[in-house]
Symmetry: C2
Subunit: 243 residues, 2 copies
């Protein structure tokens, strides 16, 4: 599995994804699942992937036109006029890749299944995020649904539901996602460090705020440990229930 989150706050967008890929517990590795494209001053696009690794790698290769020789590459993802058009392009490409692998037509239950979070900003458009399904269709983020998750989503959802605030700072947003990811890692072997983190400030059209958080990262370790203690303290403060 995988765990990936794309979240919108008033200041911009925040993305986080783990890097564990596995075909059974005896065959796992570290793989990047976050991909970015930037044209400074014009567009910034980020994709997080979850699901069959052959499918998602093929998707990214097609989007980057790796079937062309280097000098002929001119990825159409960099030409679409709006994020909505980019979402259509990514959805169509994803659907094609899955259809090629599964000759009988693709369903959500397929072993070739994959999901994608697409976020970014183009020109005058607002920064936005889409969740793209293996069927190629997609939904867009809104004030009522300010974040999308893919992969192993359940363990880390309650804390985001409780602590999300659209006015939060980027620092707090990263902290929130680190806690959500840490809860998931503690409960599920198929999600693992390092994590890729990226923040995108509204109107910046730049991709320089990216970091890979390793398991040895002292701030991550402090957050992980302090969160356990803080939870216990918070828990102690609750009213008692006796029967």
């Amino acid at each position: 599995m995988t765990y990936g989150v794309g979240m919108r706050i008033n200041r911009g967008l925040v993305f986080m994804s783990d890097t564990r890929t596995s075909a059974g517990v005896d065959n796992f590795a570290t793989t990047r699942k976050m991909f970015t494209w930037t044209i400074p001053g014009e567009r910034k696009i980020t994709i997080l992937t979850a699901g069959n690794l052959a499918t998602t790698q093929s998707l990214i290769s097609l989007l980057e036109e790796r079937s062309h020789v280097v000098e002929d590459r001119d990825p159409s993802i960099l030409k679409q006029p709006t994020m909505f058009q980019v979402a259509r392009l990514v959805g169509d490409t994803l659907k094609e890749v899955i259809a090629e692998s599964s000759p009988n037509g693709q369903t959500s239950d397929d072993q070739f299944r994959a999901s994608v979070i697409l976020g970014g900003q183009i020109g005058d458009g607002k920064p936005t995020i889409f969740l793209i399904y293996p069927e190629g269709n997609f939904i867009e983020i809104s004030d009522d649904t300010p974040f999308f998750q893919i992969g192993e989503t359940k363990y880390g959802k309650p804390i985001i539901v409780r602590a999300y605030d659209p006015d939060m700072s980027f620092e707090d947003a990263i902290k929130l996602l680190l806690v959500s990811f840490d809860s998931t890692v503690k409960a599920n072997l198929s999600v693992g460090l390092p994590f890729d983190v990226e923040i995108y400030e509204d109107g910046s059209f730049s991709s320089d705020r990216h970091k890979r958080v390793e398991s040895t990262d002292p701030v991550y370790q402090a957050i992980s440990e302090d969160w356990g203690d803080a939870l216990k303290a918070a828990f102690k403060g609750l009213p008692s229930y006796n029967i």
Copy 2:
């Protein structure tokens, strides 16, 4: 779905289950999923069920020998000499019920699938808990695995993993499970109030400490609200992460 937890602490056992049953979002109802049998001074047995409602109701009816007229009933669950033998009986009965519904043999993916948490104490034995699979086999609780969950288990797992302590009081154990259930209810429509809660004190062989927690319960409401605030406060105290 369902959410049910059986947890062992040094003082005894704690059980909690939700009561929502649904066949699609437009067809849901409240059903008891916690069942207890007691012979004062001799044995106390509690069962939590998750899965296909026809299967679990049939299981309970067979265990209570409801196929017999009232005066002939003499449930064998009340005759087994040890909790291990009770687990075998429940597992075999569960396997039979599922096999009857699915003529081609039963697998875990079956629509008739159901899981059971069985806990209690018989005579000189220690209080213990078993998790019984639809295949009829089962595992027993241990110091390393002091709780079992069935149904919609993921949302509520992180808080139990973090805050469980074998020395905790019954009050704290109930509080912990209420927080775990509250996190699940906030994230998943298929789990709902009221909750059935039961605590069993080592050596008491009694079932009088049982309560149904309604959504209007003021202590539950306070825990639910305070937990959100406490989480936010705990979250604020964590170190910041900037990139």
